[in-house]
């Protein structure tokens, strides 16, 4: 059989087999562009790129000139599923637009990013907010749940019209929820109609178009059959059912295929990961389970072995199961962990310090916790500095407005647009300067900001003034004078430039970050991560503007012109409100800073940890980014969020999945089973990615001064 399905623990060499297979295919003369490689996220592209480079070198060395030339001419396609689906939907859009119900099938579609989707949805939700009276959540949460429902319907493959029925039949509580679910469904449908009317394609509609209008179409089948003769897919357990539908098609149409499943896996619960649906592909393949050498009876004790035992302890509800392992160390004494959170962080830092002194490379050490708060990062960094160790923090899921650099860029946007008349405070300015100018501390930045404030006079700082006082720069330092002036001159030139007056905000940010902020001495010149944040913001602002223009939102009044319902009890007469025209850039900044846009990203990044730094990551990021370490520190093992998923009343990862059949109820027992199952997979996933030793850390009180004891803590009691 030419279709293979590999399954095994993380770290047993599945990806290596895929890359070997890639090299083999290329070596056997297959046209590279007939090979499709599917990865779960951008950060996984690297390993296949490396394999390609290797294959090319091998080809060059073997002097098989013809093949080598071809290898240079074309490349295998490496995609995430969404990237590929988006490409194909765009490609075939003219062909499917009419059937899909677009009002103007000849118009070029605009892809709606998450921020713009939230903004649009917010306008649909606003007049109906009263229907959610018995729920308590920020507006942004409500929006995220509705988008989530849209996405789940599309990636699971059920019609949006079934959404309310599905949620309602699983609900069996004392209070009625059906009306609310209906409201959610109505809003989701209204959003869909809005997109169809204005030729906008959001994630869910893109998926829907792909599923309903490409996957089932003969022309697409022929296209795929001709295009992809060989398929390699990694971590298929992380994909949603729609990914597996696509793979099923590929299994039918391609010559060879090799799929790999990580077990335990399926950590992108909130993005619809469906390991069971992945396994349904096994029937069309030859299945090859890959044994784990670390679990052979004669293998030495290892974190993997501990992981397997812990998984069993959790799954079999045997909390007192005796766990014994030399590959694990508790940094707290049995029943009495360190009382304070800060003590725990110190203990972790000290152990890391000792490891590094004993010759372990810092980057081989990882600290993981269910949630990585700013304070944790900051405290760990401060405490490790003494040992000369840095912290490389990877954190997904940060709304843009929570990022200091984004706030700095907003500050500069105000300074570059004096017509907005939004003065900047000295502390905002000081912080922004300290963030973008390398080596500038807050105190010296504050000296500059104070001087700027004095120079600006009564109106406040709406634009940066020229600062030439020698006394100031004597104190602050000459190099900072040049950098300040460079920034100031650039902003002044922008504000004064004629075409800049109407230039969009994303262009402002792009020029600013590509121009002065990328010079030596500025943070973007030195820090690729900061670069990534800027790119994200710019892309978000641009996509937002495109949607804004496509749907002509500027000319539609914002704000509801009805009386607030709170006052209706008084029986007084309503007062109209004034509608005003807004511009995309300003609307973006307002929405951004008022937390309406709470989009969270799984950012694209390379998994390399910088030299001399340990890795600090939330558990799920560690797993989905597929890191490996010699040493792992598990923090807050008492915490509840080791096993708790993110609960939301208006969406449901299990009820809106393919495994759930309509009419079934979802009870707390189901919930417990699901939590247990997920926790077991998580601890297994971590342990199988650790080579030498796991350290468990806990404090009696959380950072907030509360006691917690979760499922993981219970399972670890027998250790």
């Amino acid at each position: 059989m030419s279709k293979h399905y590999l399954v095994g623990h993380p770290g047993v060499g599945k990806t290596a087999r895929l890359t070997d297979r890639l090299i083999e295919l290329l070596g056997s003369g297959v046209r590279p562009d007939r090979i499709l490689i599917l990865v779960p996220q951008e950060s996984h592209v690297g390993r296949f790129k490396a394999a390609l480079a290797l294959a090319r070198d091998a080809a060059a060395a073997s002097r098989e000139g013809r093949k080598a030339r071809r290898a240079r001419l074309s490349e295998p396609e490496i995609h995430t599923f969404f990237g590929l689906a988006q490409q194909h939907v765009s490609l075939f859009f003219p062909r499917i637009a009419l059937r899909a119900g677009f009002a103007d099938p000849h118009r070029e579609p605009v892809w709606v990013n998450v921020e713009a989707a939230q903004y649009l949805l917010d306008r649909i939700v606003a007049p109906r907010i009263g229907e959610f009276e018995h729920l308590r959540m920020p507006r942004s949460r409500l929006l995220i749940q509705i988008l989530d429902d849209l996405n789940r319907a599309a990636t699971t493959g059920f019609p949006l019209e079934e959404l309310a029925d599905r949620l309602a039949s699983a609900w069996h509580g004392a209070e009625p929820r059906e009306q609310t679910y209906r409201a959610v469904q109505d809003i989701a449908l209204a959003f869909r109609r809005f997109c169809l009317r204005h030729t906008l394609v959001d994630f869910s509609l893109g998926m829907e178009l792909f599923r309903a209008h490409l996957l089932a179409a003969d022309f697409y089948r022929e296209y795929v059959a001709a295009r992809y003769r060989h398929v390699l897919a990694d971590n298929i357990e992380e994909g949603a059912p729609i990914v597996h539908d696509f793979l099923r098609l590929l299994l039918e149409t391609s010559e060879t295929a090799m799929l790999a499943e990580d077990a335990p896996g399926g950590f992108r619960v909130n993005l619809g990961a469906a390991p069971r649906s992945a396994r349904s592909l096994q029937s069309a393949c030859e299945v090859t389970p890959i044994p784990d050498p670390r679990l052979q009876p004669d293998a030495p004790d290892s974190p993997a072995r501990f992981g397997q035992a812990l998984m069993r302890a959790i799954n079999e509800r045997a909390p007192r199961l005796a766990l014994r392992s030399s590959a694990v160390e508790k940094l707290y004494d049995g029943a009495a962990p360190a009382r304070y959170w800060a003590t725990m962080v110190q203990a972790v830092a000290d152990h890391i310090g000792a490891l590094v002194r004993s010759g372990v490379a810092a980057r081989e050490i990882a600290v993981v916790a269910p949630v990585v708060e700013d304070v944790l990062w900051f405290e760990l960094e401060e405490r490790l500095r003494r040992y000369g160790v840095g912290v490389h923090a990877v954190r997904p899921s940060r709304p843009l407005h929570d990022q200091p650099l984004v706030r700095a860029l907003v500050t500069f946007a105000r300074l570059g647009h004096p017509k907005w008349a939004q003065p900047v405070s000295t502390s905002e300015l000081a912080r922004a300067l300290a963030l973008v100018i390398s080596g500038l501390d807050v105190v010296r930045a504050q000296l500059i900001a104070d001087a700027a404030r004095r120079a600006c006079g009564p109106g406040g700082i709406v634009a940066l003034p020229l600062l030439a006082e020698p006394i100031l720069w004597d104190r602050v330092g000459k190099p900072f004078h040049e950098r300040y002036t460079a920034l100031r001159d650039w902003l002044a030139a922008w504000a004064g430039g004629r075409q800049a007056q109407d230039a969009p905000l994303d262009l402002f940010w792009r020029e600013l970050t590509a121009g002065p902020m990328s010079q030596p001495g500025f943070v973007l010149g030195d820090d690729p991560e900061a670069r990534g944040v800027c790119d994200k913001l710019i892309a978000s602002a641009r996509a937002f503007r495109e949607v804004f223009e496509q749907a002509d939102l500027a000319s539609q009044p914002i704000g509801e012109s009805s009386q607030p319902p709170e006052l209706s009890v008084l029986g007084l007469s309503p007062r109209p409100e004034v509608a005003e025209r807004v511009e995309a850039g300003q609307a973006y900044v307002v929405a951004l800073m008022q937390n309406v846009l709470a989009a969270e990203y799984a950012p694209e990044r390379t998994p390399d940890v910088s030299e001399g730094s340990i890795l600090l990551a939330p558990v799920y990021t560690y797993l989905t980014d597929n890191y490996r370490s010699r040493y792992q520190f598990w923090l807050n093992v008492n915490a509840l969020n080791w096993h708790e998923r993110f609960y939301q009343p208006l969406t449901h990862p299990y009820v809106l999945s393919r495994e759930w059949s309509p009419g079934m109820r979802w009870t707390d027992d189901d919930e417990q089973r699901a939590s247990r199952d997920l926790l077991a997979r998580v601890v297994g996933g971590l342990a199988f990615r650790c080579r030498d030793k796991i350290y468990l850390a806990a404090s009696g009180l959380t950072m907030a001064g509360q006691e917690e004891s979760g499922m993981l803590a219970q399972a670890l009691r027998g250790l």
């Binding site: 308590r136 105190v443 504050q446």
Partner: protein, 741 residues
């Protein structure tokens, strides 16, 4: 654990089922509950995955009970664990946290502490007053001078906030959403209006409730009442979930049960539905939270009377001297048998609560002899002055004893503080008193240090801010040690170049002016301070709550301080969400408001904030906040007919003269209650009378609480003239003292 016979009986005999324990002041309730928990564990009645659930009223009681149980378990050679201690709110939070979706919230819901709560309420009321300014002003008399108008607007505005708060509280207690309230009002309007027209105050209260609720909802926030409500929703929405928690907590021991509201009681009833093991300990005579929390001693009494509930007494108390016990008992006796209002006789105090002194061989014997003195004064000024002087004499003479001046009102407490301030000026070497009227000292200390730290972060070039921060840290006893009055260090910090001191560059220009020879300890202190604050400055790019947490992790080690800092941090995060343009300087100002008592942080009790009386210092606080504490000598002030009325006629607190004697909050409340309960045939006058009887009864219990705070000496005072009117001693006090001779 050393137990009295009554206590031992409860601990040894209880093996399951529902039990009500009526416990008098000082009878060792908490001690007994802890012993019972240990006993259940020692007898192996709690499985490996289960815990004895202990519910107490305050956070500090949680720590106290935890420590006692741990100690006792260790003494018995048992392993730690197998129990959980919660306040009702933290229990509700633990329930909601496990399944927020069942309660209609998402996992990132936030809890509003009382500070953000009162801020949100004030904001909702302000919104209303702005939206409907003309309507709102129409309640005031029209013929006013500008000065009068200004004063009345401010009074009416305060009353509007109170109105909103009380309607909100009651509506939640009745489980009415804003839409429900609106519907009730609309329904009534459709009917004939012969019985009771809808009060405009209820309409205003309902509008504010709706706005307030909308604000909280939009932020995903739950106030304390919502949290309880949410927990009940979660338990009711999934039987599997409720049963799972019932298995986890097979025994429920509840302290201060008289203060539980019906909603809170319902949580425990739901949790114990399957196993029925629920011990409630309380003293209905100390139920003084009714007005604030919708609790009512009636509920605990009703529980005690249920046929499936066993009752056991805890009536022996070693707290007070025989004279004080006798006085408290006489108050109970008079109130239940001789009070002029028959309804009060039934409702106010329970005769089951007669206190018995401990036998002579008791481990905690009563103080041998006590003193009770009644002192009338001519007016409030004299009362404040003389009481303050007397208390100062006491603490100067007896620096090893504790002493408190308790006032029924915050206002009179402040007059006492003013009087003490003047005396304090003559004793610069000694701290004579602690002002515990509004924000308890620990909260203010934490807030003050954080305010200075945040202020310095907002203006790191201002070395005076650093000096102030240092002073605040030394006063609160945190951070690098030093002498707050050390002028050399201060001067030195002021003359330092901040950038060189905090972020020295490699070229190593001296941070401090040349010529200043530093002592070694001074240098150490200055550099330690610099290292610490530089760290905070680096953290100051973080969101505000994270910055505050970072500061707190380095400054505070006490659990309670950390908890306070955390709640301040989350409160300020909400502040930032409401005011996205606010800066660090605004945050520092907010913290200042709390530190200086201008904004209320925690209203419930001193014990809540971990306060313990200090020997040789006078505690000034309200009778409400004194609950759970004791002092060697207690001054009870304003024991008069204004504060402790004996009948439902006459003038009452809450009545606004500028509204022609209406009490907006009261009227709105009783009408809402009547609408919700369908008591449509009641007249407004009936309802007002009923509310007032309840008030009279509660004030009697407050008096009882005041009396039972004293160990040895009880000094009772009142003024013959108050608020420019003749005044007399409270009838209750006159009667019980008369019988005492």
């Amino acid at each position: 654990m050393n137990l009295r016979p009554q206590q031992a009986r409860i601990v040894n005999e209880y093996a399951g089922g529902k039990l009500a324990v009526l416990a008098v002041p000082g009878s060792g309730k908490t001690h007994t509950l802890a012993a019972l928990a240990v006993r259940l564990l020692a007898r192996g009645m709690v499985g490996p995955d289960a815990e004895v659930l202990v519910v107490t009223f305050t956070n500090s009681a949680v720590e106290n009970v935890q420590a006692r149980i741990r100690l006792a378990l260790r003494d018995l050679g048992l392993s730690d664990g197998g129990f959980r201690v919660f306040t009702l709110h933290s229990l509700a939070n633990a329930i909601v946290r496990e399944r927020p979706d069942l309660a209609g919230v998402t996992s990132d819901y936030r809890i509003d502490d009382e500070l953000s709560n009162s801020r949100a309420m004030a904001e909702a009321a302000r919104w209303f007053m702005q939206q409907e300014r003309d309507y709102w002003l129409s309640f005031l008399p029209s013929d006013l001078t500008p000065q009068q108008r200004c004063r009345l607007e401010s009074a009416w505005s305060d009353d509007t906030v109170r109105l909103g708060a009380e309607v909100t509280k009651l509506a939640k207690h009745l489980r009415l959403t804003p839409a429900d309230v609106r519907a009730l009002i609309a329904e009534r309007e459709d009917q004939a209006q012969e019985l009771m027209a809808i009060s405009p105050f209820l309409r205003i209260g309902a509008a504010i409730y709706e706005r307030y609720d909308q604000m909280l909802r939009a932020g995903g926030r739950l106030d304390f009442d919502d949290l309880i409500w949410a927990a009940i929703r979660a338990l009711n929405n999934d039987d599997d979930f409720r049963r799972r928690l019932g298995r986890r907590w097979p025994f429920i021991l509840e302290d201060e049960a008289q203060d539980s509201t019906p909603l809170q009681e319902e949580i425990l009833a739901l949790l114990s539905r399957e196993h029925g093991n629920w011990v409630r300990v309380g003293d209905p005579n100390q139920a003084i939270m009714t007005t604030f929390t919708a609790s009512d001693a009636r509920f605990f009494r009703a529980f005690k009377e249920r046929p499936d509930v066993r009752a056991m007494p805890l009536t022996v108390s070693g707290r007070s001297a025989p004279e004080i016990i006798a006085l408290a008992n006489r108050l109970v006796d008079w109130a239940t048998r001789a009070h002029p209002e028959p309804d009060v006789r039934r409702a106010a105090l329970s005769a089951d609560g007669i206190i018995q002194p401990a036998p002579p061989d008791d481990p905690q014997p009563n103080p041998p002899a006590g003193r009770i003195r009644l002192q009338p004064f001519d007016d409030e000024d004299a009362e404040a002055q003389k009481v303050a002087q007397s208390a100062v004499r006491f603490v100067l003479d007896a620096p090893d004893r504790t002493c408190a001046i308790l006032s029924p009102t915050h206002y009179f407490g402040q007059r006492i503080v003013q009087a003490l301030e003047e005396i304090q000026a003559r004793y610069p070497q000694r701290k004579l008193y602690q002002d515990q009227l509004r924000n308890p000292q620990p909260v203010r200390d934490v807030a003050r240090v954080l305010a200075q730290a945040v202020r310095f972060c907002s203006q790191p070039t201002n070395m005076n801010a650093l000096v102030d921060l240092r002073t605040a840290m030394i006063e609160a006893g945190v951070g690098p040690t030093g002498d707050a009055r050390d002028h050399r260090v201060k001067a030195l910090l002021r003359s330092a170049r901040p950038e060189r001191l905090l972020f020295p560059l490699s070229d190593a220009a001296p941070a401090l002016p040349p010529g200043l020879a530093l002592r070694e300890d001074e240098a150490r202190e200055v550099y330690a301070l610099a290292a610490l604050t530089a760290r905070w400055l680096r953290a100051s790019v973080l969101p505000v709550d994270q910055l505050i947490l970072a500061i707190a992790q380095q400054l505070f080690a006490r659990e309670n301080d950390l908890a306070i800092a955390h709640s301040l941090a989350s409160s300020l995060r909400r502040y930032m969400a409401l005011h996205p343009d606010a800066h660090l300087a605004d945050v520092a100002r907010e913290l200042d408001e709390i530190a200086s008592n201008r904004q209320r942080y925690l209203s419930s009790s001193l014990i809540e904030a971990g306060f313990q009386p200090v020997a040789g210092q006078i505690t000034v606080t309200t009778m409400h906040k004194a609950k759970g504490l004791e002092w060697d000598r207690v001054y009870l002030t304003c024991v008069d007919e204004v504060e402790f009325p004996h009948d439902a006629s006459g003038e009452f607190r809450g009545q606004a003269w500028y509204l022609a004697g209406h009490d907006p909050a009261l009227e709105a409340r009783i009408q809402l209650e009547a609408l919700a309960g369908g008591a449509a045939s009641w007249t407004a006058a009936d309802l007002v009378r009923r509310e007032r009887i309840e008030y009279v009864a509660e004030r009697l219990r407050l008096l009882y609480v005041g009396i039972t705070r004293a160990r040895a000496d009880l000094f009772i005072s009142y003024s013959r003239r108050r608020m420019e009117r003749d005044n007399s001693i409270a009838l209750a006090m006159r009667e019980v003292l008369r019988h005492a001779g």
